[in-house]
Subunit: 248 residues, 8 copies
């Protein structure tokens, strides 16, 4: 309902002033006291709210999962600990936890959703796996088909080149790399579609917690690359799925 | 032509070894001595090579424009100076220069191209204009319809909110902001499609040449945001057009 | 007593040279050996000295609490651990500890104090709660009425807008945010009174322990914003109460 | 007019839907094309919009001054160049330019305004003068009485101590300092009211453009200090006047 | 023995070529395999070698203490753990350990040494104590009389001013401060003799492990200040004693 | 086999298209699923792949060691923990672990390899030992004779000068130093052959995890110095052995 | 006159209250409006106030020189431009300007002062000369004999070693170096007396305006080194002369 | 002549004490007053001293060129300006200046030197040319054959791959790149011999004057890479020639 439609209803007495006032002033969130749940996010953005689990206390986390599950029939949490997985499973036994990506998912089995399009997740080294899997799992949860291409760092460029045809088919490529993070630039020069670069904190010394890879990706000489935060596999999976969704 | 097709041609003597060798070894660029022009980029990426003018010496620049124009019928240059515009106009009189965006374009009038889809370019302040226009001009050159929404910084949030319906219609939103760069987060929370954030070096003091806005955007709490380099309007326009192209 | 008044008393022999000497040279603190307690701070600043508990050894902490309680009838400590709370309760059984804000308060029940005015404490996410509560608890201890408005981060701007009338009534607004810290700028553009911004270390990756939010707030494009140290809820509560006190 | 009042008017047909729609959607700014002027800011914040002159092109600047002058009867611009002062004087002959603070003011002589309260502006060295004067001039324009106390850096602490009684009388103290920026901490320990700290870029070597003074002020061990951006005299003057206004 | 004297001895056959060769090539250290002990340092610098204990493995540490004790009759170690103190006491029962300064000293009781001159050690807060004590203990071990003046941070300037006559008597003042580190500048403006500034890592938030205090001290506007590394109480005690030694 | 040779074979039907396709497309690595082992690296670079153990999970590490041992008859791992050493010894009992360098080596006793040339490894302090030993052990594993010269930091320059003839004989010198890292510059000025500088994270305060030593080495005023990452003894040993190999 | 003496005078009516009040409140500076001249500094610190010329406007500079010359019979200014030298010569024809050190001195020829002791100024490269000369000229002006030892950087260590006997005779050594700044550490290990290290901004690339040399010096592994700001030759000359003065 | 040989000569009276003293104390440099020329460097390092021209004053530069030319028959200067080239040509008419590399060379035509071995200089973009040419020109001057492979940045990886056979033949590869600097990692994975990485300051935004490329190269995941300072083409050419010299 647009602003105009609402105002016309008020003029025609089809809606009470109180209801209209709520439309304009009370935004569509639910206030749990400790948090304001954005229940209409799916309507607004096409994706339901995702829970950032790290640091959330046990009873709060359980309550949030329950409430969102009731609303949407499915919930995804990121950065969940094994302990948090147990807490959520106690209230939602169908919850599934992946210790590599630290994703904690629950989905009503009735809820049938088709995956569409294709997102490619490439990672430079085996140590970047946990970020790559967070990206891949997020994209799958949000509805994209995902192809995983791991351990294709630029110090052995033939590994990447041997997979390039597969990568080129994706609507969006996620490039995950730590250390010097050069993977995104090389992929950017080889594919036609957008590349979302994810620096990781993998490395040591002058890596400075991922700053090195972040600067590499932000300064990339290749076209068609944009970057998300260090270790932010979730963020990459989200925007890649937005892009993939536009393409299908 | 794929690797396999080429090898079958060699086996059937349809192509000489010399030609095949060139296919595998000599990549499709032209070596001008001072530069290697990537003439097949349009075929590979869907967009022709764009010239980064800053620092290129006059005769080199002219030669590059001429050669690319001959190949593609159109050329775009970024970060061009007024002086460079004169140099290029001397050899390609149809060239057009915009001093705000510093884009230097030339296009064969015969070459008719339809613009498609929609990219929204939002900027926080009037001082961010030169970056916003670089983004907008790039997206238009590469084939996107562009809607410009300028001076909608978050310190007067009503300006942004009054334009939000227009912004929501775009397949991709470019958010350009300097100083604290909060614009991207607010837009990210209001739209359904991907946001490409461009930090600018506008500001002073602890802005540190755009670092402040870059960090803000990279750390954004909103979903669906990825960031390009400081002042990199071109890069944002490029990836936004890739995304827009997928949507149409 | 001013310098002149003191000197006149000396001239009139109303005060001994020794006493006057102490006035000029011996400042009004008590030297416990391990610390110099500023007993006259309430007289000088209107607020009694507050104890920074972190790192203070047990017997020292207990002694400081006892001495200040004897002087002022109330003591506030910040960054106290649960263990330190036990230590202080052993000597001052009325002490109360809040594990979220880590404030450790004790107040003589006889001491009746009215709260005045209004300070609004706004926080961006649930993870910023511990800083927001330190700010709120400090402001209350120092005599201000406090209204708490939590989880109103800019990625869902409607949550903030729905509370804006309440925020506007405060004499001073404290804006607590981590990650990209954009909350302060948006509030700054919406209210008439001063905003004290508190960056938090909440976030990951390129957040760099709160540096990202600090730079955002320092570079804010909005008017009427000044910033305190990362996670310094106490400092924000203190200056907000000074401002609130001026208004009533 | 509140949301409710507007809706009641619509229900009672006292206002047309079109007008109401504009109330909700069209925020009170004027779109000049190159900028969106916030004409209702005085109503909203109590202070009219101030113009950041740096980088604004001549015709735009003149147009903005004219439009704001027509609306409010007075205009203040910051970071104006001598050249810009000439441009504005050509259209508004009463404009006055101060080359130290770089403030460019114009005010209708009919417009009589009383200054109220007191803001003290203290600066550490003579080189910090231009920032101190920007702060002082801003506070005066916005309606505060200002007392200036300059060249009282901590390396000769007796200069500051000799002025402390005067400083203590202010409702808000602005402490301007470059190099190591210690002035704010010392003042913070001596006064009862809030201190707004302004780091300046004055210094050399490891000063890093004011970063050193900024960090000093943000990390201050004294209570009651909040900090604005490096060289941001305007921002300090603004918030100090907000505080001063609350006190009177 | 100078170069010339040695050569004359060789010419006069008073010394064998082998001995002379050793004079020129083999420097006066003892190679323990895992370390090269600088046994002649006392002769060269006036002070014996001091042991940096942190990270040294148990048997190595014991061996180094024993060897140096045999040579010099006394040993000082810095950054020693309680465990290391036990290790050393097992071989040198007279060793004494101070858990605050983490100094581990042993001295032959026969070895009578007079302390001379005066070094003042001032610290800003109680949390800086461990660094201040490292400085004080080092200076005492190396032969200086030390006066300790603690908890005189600049946020309560009267505490420092009440002690200034005592501080002025020292040949060298050590100023120890964390957080914003302003103490050194204020002392520098009040005394005649050199000030050695020691930033500490005490603080939080934008303190960045002592960087804030380091920058403050390096950028000090006062004369007569030089700075050592963050938390380097030992280094300050050493150079202060060198200066004190020159004065007596 | 060069590209041309392969193509000639295809033309002469000496090789099937499938085999040739694999030559061009399938690079010589083995995909274990969790990792892509570069089995042909010895052929390509002259050195077999080395395993970075840190963070590799137990079964993966064991599998990688086994597979590489089968291929090359020897394996080197870096940054191995004592636990990982046990895991590998369980499958390859001949494995040897050095807790200082954290190198985990296994080599078929049949495999006789001569060491050649000479690499000198110099370190500044005893705390740099673990990095120096990683460099030395790597160089030995890859085939170089190594001379170790430890504890020759520049604060006692005679120790270094007494060893300089020995150092000068090496084909390549590795200079390992933490704190201020000045060792590389001094050695660089004294030797004829290349110096590989390794900054270490040894130090405290403004050392910033080795950044200080890294900047020192990168900015060295001496000729013939290039730098590897902080604590990267392995990287230094590798390139030094490449250089040494060229010399013999 | 001490506080006690003053108070006794007041009691005995030997001094009026007004005079005493001035003693306590009005510190001994002269307020020129634009600056507060510290006329009693010579009495307080043993050295007269030195003028930092950079950025001072012409009439102010001339007035300051005149006033200080009248008071002390001599004036030193640092960072003076050639233009400023002309300005000062116009009012004080005896002024002398040195374009390398940028020192601008004037001294009454009647004023006979003996130089005492010895300060050694060592510099690493010829490009560091301007800082070294600022240090040397300052020390001479303040009363020290100075020996200059230039171009003795550590990349050719024999140059430094050949001069070491001369350096060892100084009461204090100033070590001036840019690039990697290793000179201070090497000298620190060779001399008995304190070393004041001055990093310079000489260098390029990762030198970051002298940060590299600053970190090197602050992290020095040698004893007896303290550091002043980048390019702060004046500061080094000042403290070195304080130390030298103690020794004579 | 070794230390022993010299001592034996003294014993046998074949050399006077004075001469021997000079051997030990007076190092083989020539003191021009403003500089200490290292005339024996060719003997010591195999390469003559190279002049860093930037900032050297005209008469000094001319004197240094003349003196070194007299000694060695050839001189190389780096970072020379066109003006400096004229100054040197005035005294040494055979001098040759290259404005791209800013190298200023002069060589006695009689002096015939063979170039040996091979150094490959690869650069990422045309803007890196000036650094690449400094490296190439230095290597040629010092005696290496050089092959130049320019504009082979990783965003068009086929350009690099088409040249890889040529690159592999070099004894040492210099990889010059700005922006994100990924070139070194890719080359490192493709060649057998050492790679010297040179970050350049080419780029903008978060490039931070070459810091981004420096961090990339220092953190490279490839083996066999060591890094020199930003824009330090000379340093790379020097060490590459040392390596090349070992190989021939």
């Amino acid at each position: 309902m647009t602003t105009r439609e609402m105002l016309e209803k008020v003029e025609r007495h089809e809606i009470s002033i109180e209801e209209a006032e709520r439309f304009f002033k009370d935004a569509p969130y639910e206030d749990l006291g400790f948090a304001k749940l954005d229940l209409h996010r799916q309507a607004r953005s096409g994706f339901p709210e995702v829970v950032y689990c790290m640091g959330k206390e046990d009873p709060y986390l359980a309550a949030i999962y329950e409430r969102l599950y009731r609303e949407n029939g499915k919930v995804l949490g990121t950065r969940a600990s094994a302990h948090q997985a147990e807490i959520v499973k106690a209230v939602l036994p169908g919850a599934e936890y992946d210790p590599v990506s630290r994703l904690l998912k629950v989905q009503d089995p009735e809820l049938k959703e088709e995956k569409t399009g294709c997102v490619a997740v490439c990672s430079a080294g085996t140590a970047d796996l946990y970020v790559a899997e967070e990206a891949a799992g997020t994209a799958e949860y949000l509805g994209a088909n995902v192809v995983r291409i791991y351990d294709v760092g630029v110090s052995g460029i033939h590994r990447l080149l041997s997979k390039i045809d597969e990568i080129r088919k994706a609507n969006c490529v996620i490039a995950v790399a730590g250390m010097e993070g050069a993977l995104a630039s090389v992929i950017g020069g080889l594919v036609e579609n957008p590349v979302i670069a994810v620096p990781t904190s993998v490395g040591y010394g002058a890596n400075f917690g991922g700053l090195s890879a972040l600067l590499t990706m932000i300064n990339s000489c290749a076209n068609g690359i944009a970057t998300v935060n260090i270790d932010n596999g979730y963020g990459a999976g989200y925007i890649a799925t937005q892009i993939n969704r536009l393409a299908v």
